[in-house]
Amino acid sequence: MRASFRQLETRRAGLPDKAVKLTRDQYHDLYYYLRLNRRVDEQLTSLYRQGKVVGGVYSSLGQEGISVGTAYALGPDDVVGIMIRNAGAMLVRGFRPRDLFMQYMARRDGPTGGRDANTHFGDLKRGVIAPISMLGELVPLLAGVALAARIRRQQRVALTYVGDGSTSTTPFHEGLNLAAVLKLPLILIAENNGWAYSTPIEKQTANTHLVDRAQAYGIAGAAIDGNNVVEVYEATSEAAERARKGGGPTLIEARTMRMKGHAEHDDARYVPKELIEKWRKRDPIVAYEKLLTKERLLTAEEKAEVEGRVEKVIREDLEFAEASPFPAPETETQPVWA
C-alpha cells in the first residue's frame, strides 16, 4: 500500500449534552450584559455620528454573545486579553459604560485620560489586558500570562480572542504552538465573523473550519455557535476546567457574523446584503430572549427590570462622560512613561 496524503479529518468537537449549571440570577446576568453591551454599542454609534468621538468606533454588534459568554465563564483571578470587539468582556470584568464613553470621547476621566480614543485600555486588577492593534499579538502575550501563572503555582486561566483574519498571522501560530508544547492554561477564542475588514474568510484560508487548527498544534478544539451565549459559556467553562487540570490550551471557534462594517466609517458595501439578512435573523440577544422565555427563566417583569437597570446605567454614564472635560494640554507629557 502506497503512503497516501493525509486527508482532512475534521474534528468538530461537539459539546456534551450536559445541563448548564447556571442559576436563574446568572441567566439574568448574562441577559443584562448582553443588553448592556448592545446599548453601549448603540450609544457609541450615536456619539460617533454626533462628531463627539475622536477616531473610529469598532462595533461588536452581533458578536455580543461571544464576549459576554466567554468572560462570564471565567473566575475573578483569571485574565482576559480583549480585542476591539470585546466591549462585552470589559463590562463583565467590571468596567462601566462610562469608561468606554469617556475613552472614545477622549475625556480626562477616561481610563487613558484622553490619550487613546479607542478600546486600548485594560486593568490588571480586573484581569484585563488591553488590546494590541497588531492582530494576533495577544496570543503569545496571554501564553506568557498563563506561563507566569504556572510558575507561581496559581490556578489562573488566560483567555484571549482572535478574528478569522488573525489566524493567518505569525503570532497566532507561534503563540499557540508554544502554549501547546508547554501545555499552558490558555483559551483562544477564534471569533469567526466571516470578514477581516473586507477580506472574506474564503480568501483568508483554504480551510475555513478554523477549529481544524487545533489538531495542527495537538490541542483541544471546539466549534460552536457564537450567537448562542449559553453554548459559548459552556464551551469556555469546559476549556477552563481542562486548563486548570493541566490539560493545556483549547481553541474555540465561535461562528458569528460582523453585522456592521469594520468600523463606523466603513459601510461594508463589499458584504452581500443577503448575508446580513440571514444573520439578522440569528441575532444573539433575540435568540437568548427566546430561550429564556421558552424555558420560563425570564418573566415580563424580570425583563423590564433588567432593561431598566441597563437604561439607568447608560443614562447616568452618558451624562457623567459628557460632563468630563478634555485633558488639560499641560498634562499631555505626563503618563507617557510608567
Partner: protein, 344 residues
C-alpha cells in the same frame, strides 16, 4: 528512534526507472563523500572560514525530491540539502570553491558556506533566518502559476522552522491561492539542541496540513524511494494546478548542528540507532537485493566519486583567494549579473 517509524510509512512505491535509481545512488554517495571531506577534513585543517553544515543521515530527502525537477522548476534547499545544488547543475568545483572562499567561486569568496544559488538553474540560495524561504517559495510558485507552464517549487526546512510564523503564513497563503509549491520538512529530530518534544505537541507534523486545507504526508525520510514517491505525488498534483502539499520526512541529524558542535546533548543511543538506519546503506542494500548494482559496480562508483571530488578539491585549493581591492565588488547588481539578466 523517536517517531521515526511513522504510521504512514509506505510498503511499496512506484519504482523509478533503473537509470534514475542509479543516479540517486550516485547523488547519495557523492553527497556523503563530499560532506565528509568538508566537515571532517577541510574544516579540521582550518581551510574553511566559518561553520560547516552538512546533511549527514538526511541525504535521501534532497536526492529523492530534487531529482524530479525539470527546467523552470525551482528549489529552495535548506543548508542540509547538498545534493540539490549538484542536481540543479552546480559543479563540485563551485561547491568547494565557495566553501574555501576562493575568488572564482559562486560568491567570489564573499560567503563561505552554501548561501549561493542561480535563478537560471532554479535554485534559490539559503536564507539564514530559517523559514524566510517559505513565503519566498510562494512568490516563485505564484510566478509559475501565472506563467502556466506547469512548473513547481520545492522548499525545504527543518522541524524547528515549522514553529516560525513565516512557515505558517506561507502555508496558509499557498493553500488559499492554490500555488504549485511543495513544502518539505526535513524533520531531523533536533533544531540545534532542541528535541522535537520541545518543539511541537503533535505526533506528526503532517497534522498541520489539513488545517490549511492542503494534503500532508509523513514518511520515512531515510528511504529515498519513499521520498521519491511522496514528492512525485505532490509534484504531479502541483503541476496539475491542484495546489500545494506538505511532506514531513522523518530522519535524523547524524552529526552536530555544525562542525563546531559536538552534540553532546543528543543521547548516544540515538546516534547508534540512526547509524543502523543510514539512508545510504539502506539504499545500497536495496539496490543490491534488486540486482541493480553489485559490489563491483559499487566499487567502481566509489572510485569515480573519489576521483571527481579529488579533482574538484585540488582545483579549488589551487585557485586564488579574492584580491583585497575586489572586496567592494559584487555587493550590488553589476552589469551582466544573473539577477539583472533574468529580470528577476
Amino acid at each position: 528512534m523517536p517517531g521515526l517509524k511513522a504510521a504512514t510509512i509506505a510498503k511499496k512505491v512506484v519504482e523509478p526507472d533503473v537509470k534514475t535509481l542509479e543516479r540517486m545512488l550516485y547523488y547519495l554517495k557523492l553527497t556523503r563523500e563530499a560532506e565528509q571531506l568538508l566537515e571532517r577534513v577541510l574544516y579540521r585543517q582550518g581551510k574553511i572560514v566559518g561553520g560547516v553544515y552538512v546533511g549527514r543521515g538526511q541525504e535521501a530527502i534532497a536526492v529523492g525530491s530534487a531529482i524530479q525537477l525539470v527546467e523552470g522548476d525551482v528549489v529552495f534547499p535548506s543548508h542540509r540539502d547538498f545534493a540539490a545544488w549538484i542536481i540543479r547543475g552546480f559543479t563540485l568545483r563551485d561547491v568547494f570553491l565557495n566553501w574555501l572562499g576562493r575568488a572564482h567561486g559562486p560568491t567570489r569568496g564573499r560567503e563561505n558556506t552554501n548561501h549561493f544559488g542561480d535563478v537560471r538553474r532554479g535554485l534559490i540560495p539559503v536564507i539564514s533566518p530559517l523559514g524566510d524561504t517559505c513565503p519566498l517559495a510562494c512568490g516563485t510558485a505564484l510566478v509559475q502559476k501565472q506563467r502556466a507552464r506547469g512548473n513547481v517549487t520545492l522548499v525545504h526546512f527543518g522541524e524547528g522552522t515549522t514553529s516560525r510564523g513565516d512557515v505558517h503564513e506561507a502555508m496558509n497563503l499557498a493553500a488559499v491561492w492554490t500555488l504549485p509549491v511543495i513544502f518539505i520538512c526535513n524533520n531531523n529530530a533536533y533544531a540545534y539542541s532542541t528535541p522535537t518534544r520541545q518543539q511541537y505537541a503533535v505526533k506528526d507534523l503532517s497534522a498541520r496540513a489539513p488545517a490549511y486545507g492542503m494534503p500532508g504526508m509523513t514518511i520515512d525520510g531515510n528511504d529515498v524511494l519513499k521520498v521519491y514517491d511522496a514528492a512525485r505525488q505532490a509534484i504531479k498534483r502541483a503541476r496539475a494546478g491542484k495546489g500545494p502539499s506538505f511532506i514531513e520526512c522523518k530522519t535524523f541529524r547524524m552529526t552536530g548542528h555544525s562542525a563546531h558542535d559536538a552534540a553532546q546533548y543528543v543521547p548516544k543511543e540515538l546516534f547508534e540507532m540512526a547509524a543502523k538506519d543510514d539512508p545510504l546503506a539502506r539504499f545500497e542494500k536495496e539496490l543490491v537485493a534488486m540486482k541493480i548494482v553489485d559490489s563491483k559496480r559499487l566499487g567502481q562508483l566509489e572510485q569515480q566519486i573519489a576521483k571527481e571530488i579529488d579533482e574538484a578539491v585540488a582545483f579549488a585549493e589551487s585557485s586564488s583567494l579574492p584580491e583585497g581591492a575586489d572586496a567592494v565588488k559584487g555587493v550590488y547588481c553589476e552589469a551582466g549579473c544573473v539577477w539583472q539578466a533574468t529580470g528577476v
